[in-house]
């Protein structure tokens, strides 16, 4: 045990002495949270919208004035027909189109009810939901004011919301689980594979293997510090999400941490596996990027919802551990789901982890026997 601790101590010295490692460990998570966090804005100011006024009556004019008068919107386009809507969206500046039906005022007085459509550009899901929310708010205020004057019946203008491009707004609030998923891969898989390959490259691995340290002690000693640092990282990310963006973890923190540990183990075994395959640090970096990080970013559902992908990519993403991890921590963090809701995904991730551990342990043994000069 003492031999082992002397070795682990040295590993920590490596980490804390290398500025680049420290930046990757702590700088990147912090910046990612800030970047993704601020990209998801929670306030709305002077968003450009367009109106398609088919009514041209008092009610529609009033509503347009109210929209214009609010700080939230600038009406930058007045459309003449439904055909203009698509082109307007494609230009990209307009966040939403508000459509007033023909005979708006007449409908209100006759039926006491009318519908105003709001179509939002949901390629920016967060902005889209804000725009529709604020517009609906203004419509509701107006109809509330109307009901005071008209005593008979309840004339209500109900907003009808449609999301354009991305109907189900799935990527909402996804950034914290997504950032955790990527950061953990970077720290566990990327940094461990690099750390082990570095020893091979420098020739110190040979010396360690000749020493009384057992091979498994060397490997566990190399990855233990990264396991620890990954956990620290999760806590930093969660605290930042909470304090800077008021994003709480709705589910059990213990469950979340336990799932993260499983995922870290997966990453570490992946890193070990890579380190048994390659002899150069660059190659370790490239393989981790191509096999885990990039597909993890694109196909795990972090940025692009899996539901919107062609089926092929859906199947492809099923072999990626990050996809399952996101599907585990998203419900835990956002919906407050318990273990009963994620046990299947957890089982899949555990299976993948076990597979990687066995594979890397075997590969490592084979490498030891084979390497001869």
């Amino acid at each position: 045990m003492k031999r082992f601790m002397a070795f682990v101590r040295k590993e920590f010295l490596h980490i804390f002495r290398d500025v680049r490692t420290l930046i990757i460990l702590f700088g990147i998570p912090a910046t990612q949270i800030l970047i993704f966090g601020y990209a998801v804005r929670t306030d709305l100011k002077n968003a450009s919208i367009a109106v398609l006024d088919n009514a041209h009556d008092d009610v529609s004019n009033d509503l347009i004035l109210k929209l214009e008068a609010s700080d939230f919107f600038t009406i930058s386009n007045r459309l003449n027909s439904y055909d203009d809507i698509d082109a307007t969206f494609k230009k990209g500046k307009i966040k939403a189109v508000v459509i007033f039906p023909e005979d708006l005022a007449a409908l209100l007085t006759r039926d006491g009810h009318a519908t105003v459509s709001i179509i939002a550009d949901a390629s920016e899901p967060n902005t889209a939901s804000l725009v529709t929310g604020y517009t609906s708010g203004i419509l509701n205020d107006y109809s509330a004011a109307l009901t005071k004057h008209i005593t008979t019946g309840l004339p209500v203008i109900s907003p009808e919301v449609r999301m354009y491009f991305n109907p189900n707004l799935e990527s909402h609030f996804m950034f914290v689980p997504g950032v955790i998923t990527l950061i953990l891969i970077m720290v566990s898989a990327l940094m461990t594979s690099v750390a082990i390959v570095r020893e091979k490259e420098s020739g110190t691995m040979e010396v360690l293997l000749v020493s009384p340290l057992k091979p498994w002690q060397i490997i566990v000693g190399k990855v233990a510090p990264y396991f620890f640092l990954s956990l620290v990282n999760i806590i930093v990310i969660l605290l930042m999400a909470w304090f800077v963006f008021k994003l709480p973890v709705r589910g059990s923190i213990a469950l979340l941490i336990a799932e993260c540990m499983l995922y870290i183990l997966m990453g570490l075994s992946f890193g070990i596996l890579i380190s048994t395959i390659v002899d150069k640090m660059e190659n370790a970096i490239i393989i981790t990027f191509m096999v885990l990080l990039l597909p993890g970013l694109l196909l795990s559902g972090f940025i692009f919802p899996i539901e919107n992908m062609p089926k092929v990519y859906d199947y492809l993403s099923a072999i990626l551990p990050p996809r399952w991890f996101i599907e585990i921590i998203r419900p835990i963090m956002i919906k407050g789901a318990g273990f009963v809701y994620v046990w299947k995904e957890t089982l899949i991730l555990a299976g993948m982890t076990l597979f990687l551990i066995v594979l890397s342990a075997r590969k490592f043994k084979v490498r030891l026997e084979e390497s001869s000069g």
Partner: protein, 246 residues
Amino acid sequence: MDREMAIEVRDLVKRFGSFTANDRLTFDVYKGEIFGFLGANGAGKTTAMRILCGLSRPTSGRVTVAGIDSGNPEAIKRRIGYMSQRFSLYEDLTVNENLELYGGIYGMTMKEIRQRREELLQRLSFTGYCETLIQALPLGLRQKLAFAVAVFHEPEIVFLDEPTSGVDPVTRRQFWEMIYETASRGMTVFVTTHYMDEAEYCDRITIMSEGRIVALDSPSALREQHGTASVEELFVKIARPKNTNS
């Protein structure tokens, strides 16, 4: 002559598939001697050395290192020291930290480490460098330190794998003085090299060619036997693989 044996090798064979890297090697290394292991690249030196160090198992034959059978590599590893041909200290750690690391790995207590460190640094006149990062040390000092680290835990046998490759002549000279000094304290030194002038410093040398031992004796005896003026000449004469000519 009945001297105590540090290493005993009998009919050692190591095969990789159909390739025979070591073909029935038999030799002894006596306690306290400097034993040179010579051979061209690919002659099987490294394979044999890896087996002696417990890194790899023989296909057949019997190997005993420091009195322990090669079937128990863990016990062998505790009794030997090793210095690789590549520089093997951690450059981002200080001299002290490197010594603490290797001392710790070999199971030395902190007290022992401190005590022996003082001695060692004094003997090498290294005292001013304790807190210096290895990467800031001049190359010659680093090489000496690497050797000092390999014998820091006072092993019975130290294996040096081409320890002086890429080192300037002055440093090589100093390095060999350290080896002599170590051997004089009773440690067995097993060294591979491709510098033939260094072979002359060894008590006994063995020359390998194509997986076999083709010569084994003291440098002077070998020169006499083969009627050559230097080990270099001798090596060219007997160790050149038959299929290559220059």
